[in-house]
């Protein structure tokens, strides 16, 4: 097991390094002088620019620049945001908690709902209910979450004014403790819903197919023969075994989840990494974009690593395969 983990960790580290290289190279393609872009004001003097250039090692040739980039990265220095004028690391740190709250809530709800609906569909394969669940979830899955989000925003926030217009809490409310949590939850309803509807399809389809597999297995047939109640078979025997691939997918799909977050946060101006991405794009804040991409990529790689390890524990065949 140990060697398996080490091997996996090594592979993940190599991937991270490749991401760093890619990240470095992509942003060399960016138009314009990165130093000049740090100042809006044209009165910036040559000395001021030279100072910045030296500070970020931009006066060196490409190879030297890369080395200094990696060195600074090793010290947790992702550069200074053009737009916010503060270290990218700090900008990201400020926004991560908000995004985590949203993602965890939405993902959790999507898993629960998706598994229930998927199990139902798998259980009733071939019926009308099955067809309806599958086609509806396929449709939801293909509708971009920003489109659904816009509709929700227009209907429930702008027209019916039931839900807040934007943001994650009432500004300067002075609320603390439970009252604050309630306020945040209230603000989260629409953005979370728009993400849930998007994720749910994935889990429905997955659970359904895994369910049909499991239902064909011998132990189900024997359980039936023993006279176990149908509902008991569904919940206790079939679903439990069908869940394994679903759990792994939750981790693997984090890269996919990222898209939903960017879209929902932009539409509902939820102050997290997703909205930050949109604003960084609008302001062409390259250091910040670079940091965001690194953050997203590394968290996806990390999630995959963790899932691999868990899977290795559960299913020893994987380890042998290695």
């Amino acid at each position: 097991m140990k060697s398996f983990i080490l091997k996996r960790a090594g592979a993940s580290l190599i991937t991270v390094f490749a991401v760093i290289c890619l990240n470095f190279l992509i942003f060399r393609l960016a138009p314009g002088d990165p130093v000049k872009m740090m100042f809006t004001d044209p009165r910036v003097t040559a000395e001021q620019m030279q100072e910045v250039r030296e500070k970020f090692g931009l006066d060196k040739p490409l190879g030297g620049q890369f080395i200094s980039y990696v060195q600074r990265l090793a010290h947790g220095d992702l550069g200074i945001s053009f737009w916010q004028k503060k270290p990218v690391t700090r900008v990201l740190a400020e926004k991560i908690p908000q995004t985590l709250i949203l993602v965890i809530t939405a993902l959790g709800m999507a898993v629960i709902l998706g598994v229930i609906l998927g199990a139902l569909a798998g259980w009733k394969t071939g019926t009308r209910l099955d067809t309806f669940i599958v086609s509806a979830s396929l449709a939801m899955y293909s509708i971009p979450s920003f489109a659904l989000g816009l509709i929700l925003l227009l209907v429930f926030a702008y027209t019916l004014t039931i839900f807040p217009l934007s943001g994650m809490s009432t500004p300067a409310s002075g609320l603390t403790g439970f009252g604050y949590l309630k306020d945040v939850a209230w603000h989260m309803v629409l953005p979370a819903f728009s993400i849930v509807m998007w994720y749910i399809g994935e889990f429905v389809v997955l659970t359904r197919s895994s369910m049909t597999d499991v239902l064909g297995q011998e132990y189900i047939t024997s359980a039936r023969a023993k006279g176990v109640k149908e509902s008991g078979i569904l919940w206790r025997h079939a679903l439990r075994n069908a869940l394994l691939p679903v759990v792994t997918m939750t981790g693997v799909n984090l890269g996919f989840a990222v898209a939903g977050v960017i879209e929902a946060e932009t539409v509902f101006s939820w102050p997290g990494i997703g909205l930050l991405t949109y604003e960084a794009v609008m302001k062409r804040d390259y250091p910040l974009l670079q940091g965001i991409f690194l953050l997203f990529a590394v968290s996806v790689i990390l999630a995959n690593f963790v899932v691999d390890i868990i899977y290795g524990y559960i299913d020893p065949r994987i380890r042998v395969g290695e």
Partner: protein, 550 residues
């Protein structure tokens, strides 16, 4: 009760003292305070996400970001502040008075009892620290009128500035400069921009209560303020995801006013005749113009082509289609209502026939039958790269309309829509020939000597302001004379000449001055102050100072 003589004199003295105090209060810089105004309440102000502050560092965002340049004048005092419309006079703030003899050496006398929010007194050292270090920290603070030879602290409350050049005009130097506390910033002197300034200690009428980047900024009245204080207890800048959300918030009563740019003209009708909402519109502070890149070696060089373009643009249509009629004429960097405006400038009215004649007579004819005129010199089609930033929706609309209109006179515009940083990168570097014509907009304000730097000959782009790459030595002579002129009439004369030269040479072609539409809620508050640019801009913190409960 019998009053003894002793008591009587006491009463007399007391009365005299009382009157003296009342009189003094009337004469103090704060004559605008009316007795009996209701204090308290919380003023909520809406900003869009894009306009909102993400940090309180003292750099560009205090200059160029909407929330930034409204935030700092509330929290930090300045030496003097520009008064409200229509006089726009220099009013004492931290400096209770100032004097100069030669307009080069200026002495400011500071308020003795001014204190920062942390209780430390405001001294001449703090002023000197701010003047020296802010401009070093960020080019955005490098104004001409704080370009000093020396700054002398004469005593704790007196400071003397010796400028590098004479500073004429009706305003003293050191305009629009926050005074920041030396005891807070001193340790970060070498790297001011990396100090996060989380406490935002200033000496202004408001102090920071809570700041959540991108969500809200909560200010509270500084109860210990040395002078006439504001009336409201709290001011909250709230951030919204889109302009729609800001509009809805105003209608719902979540906010009392819009933070900076007001509402888009297209939604103006939504706020007319609405209960508890007062519809305010003001002449704009910003102006839109075309910048012709005179570095380009093509037909743009030809004054006749530039004139034809100006005559080919239907400004009335821009006004109606883009600004819903809420806009005014602009023909100079100086607003027409200011006395220094030259009323006799050449005008470029919409006249496609004249435009066509100009082009025809200069030999620009369609020689290859593609409906586009050709340059007689190079034979090429009259196609120009037209630069617009994607962040300015109104200007994009203007550009699309101008593209249609100029097509009518045989000129094609290639819209180059870029993000804002790329735009500025291209715009301020005309020598790299990334554009032929660009749309540009600025907020000169009533004290706008600085905008003339846009026209100063600058072949090596040292100043960097001259996007048109315009160079006319005659203009520069007038500009130098104007900057140093202490005689107001002379100054006005030079300014007139400068305006005329720009209008004749057409490095910049003025298009329009959009109005600011800033509806405010009146169910709780009254006393909003309107200047050019509306109720809340970088030149107008007065609404925050004067708004009070009904």
């Amino acid at each position: 009760m019998v009053t003894t003589p002793k008591k009587k004199t006491f009463l007399k003295h007391f009365m005299v003292l009382l009157f003296a105090v009342l009189f003094f209060l009337q004469c103090a810089p704060a004559t605008w305070g009316k007795a009996g105004v209701k204090t308290g309440g919380r003023l909520d102000v809406g900003f869009t996400q894009e306009e909102s502050l993400e940090s309180l560092t003292c750099g560009e965002s205090w200059q160029y970001l909407e929330m930034g340049c409204v935030f700092w004048p509330l929290v930090y005092d300045q030496l003097w502040i520009m008064g409200p419309a229509p006089e726009y006079e220099a009013k004492p703030m931290l400096a209770k008075s100032w004097e100069t003899e030669d307009h080069q050496t200026w002495t400011f006398h500071l308020q003795e009892d001014a204190r920062f929010h942390d209780g430390e007194p405001v001294t001449a050292e703090d002023v000197k620290f701010s003047l020296v270090n802010l401009r070093k920290a960020d080019p955005a603070w490098a104004y001409e009128d704080t370009n000093t030879k020396s700054i002398t602290v004469i005593d704790e409350h007196t400071i003397q500035l010796t400028l590098k050049a004479k500073h004429g005009g009706k305003y003293p130097p050191a305009y629009w400069m926050p005074v920041i506390p030396k005891h807070v910033w001193g340790p970060h002197q070498e790297n001011m921009l990396s100090y996060d300034n989380a406490q935002a200690i200033g000496s202004g009428k408001f102090k920071l209560k809570e700041f959540k980047p991108g969500q809200y900024l909560w200010l509270q009245k500084n109860k210990e303020y040395w002078g006439q204080n504001a009336y409201v207890d709290d001011v909250v800048f709230r951030c919204y995801g889109s302009q729609d959300a800001v509009n809805m918030a105003l209608k719902k009563g979540e906010i009392d006013m819009v933070g900076y740019l007001g509402i888009p003209a297209i939604s103006a009708e939504d706020f007319k005749g609405v209960k508890d909402i007062k519809f305010i519109s003001a002449p704009g502070i910003s102006m839109d113009w075309l910048t012709f890149n005179l570095h380009q070696d093509n037909a743009i060089q030809d004054l006749k082509v530039r004139k034809a373009i100006m005559h080919g643009i239907d400004k009335e249509r821009l006004k109606n289609m883009v600004f819903f009629g809420y806009a005014r004429k602009a023909d100079s960097f100086i607003y027409p209502e200011l006395s220094s405006h030259n009323p006799n400038l050449p005008q470029y009215n919409y006249d496609p026939e004249k435009a066509v004649n100009l082009l025809e007579s200069a030999g620009y004819k369609d020689t290859d039958g593609n409906d586009l005129r050709n340059d007689p010199k190079s034979g090429e089609d009259l196609v120009f790269d037209f630069l617009v930033p994607s962040a300015w929706p109104d200007e994009i609309k203007c550009a699309r309309l101008m593209k249609e209109q100029l097509r009518e006179i045989g000129i094609k515009l290639n819209l180059k829509i870029t993000d804002l940083s790329t735009y500025y990168g291209f715009y301020y570097e005309p020598t790299s020939d990334d554009f032929d014509i660009s749309i540009a907009t600025e907020e000169p304000g009533p004290h706008a000597d600085w905008v003339w730097q846009f026209c100063r000959c600058d072949p090596d782009l040292e100043m960097g302001w001259n996007g048109a790459y315009y160079c006319n030595p005659k203009f520069d002579t007038y500009l130098d004379k104007m900057a140093e002129a202490t005689d107001m009439d002379k100054r006005k004369e030079y300014l007139s000449e400068m305006q005329k030269l720009v209008a004749e040479d057409l490095p910049y072609g003025f298009l329009i001055r959009p109005d600011l539409i800033c509806p405010v809620r009146t169910d709780k508050f009254e006393g909003y102050v309107k200047t050019m640019g509306g109720v809340s801009t970088w030149i107008n913190p007065w609404s925050y100072f004067k708004v009070h409960l009904k």
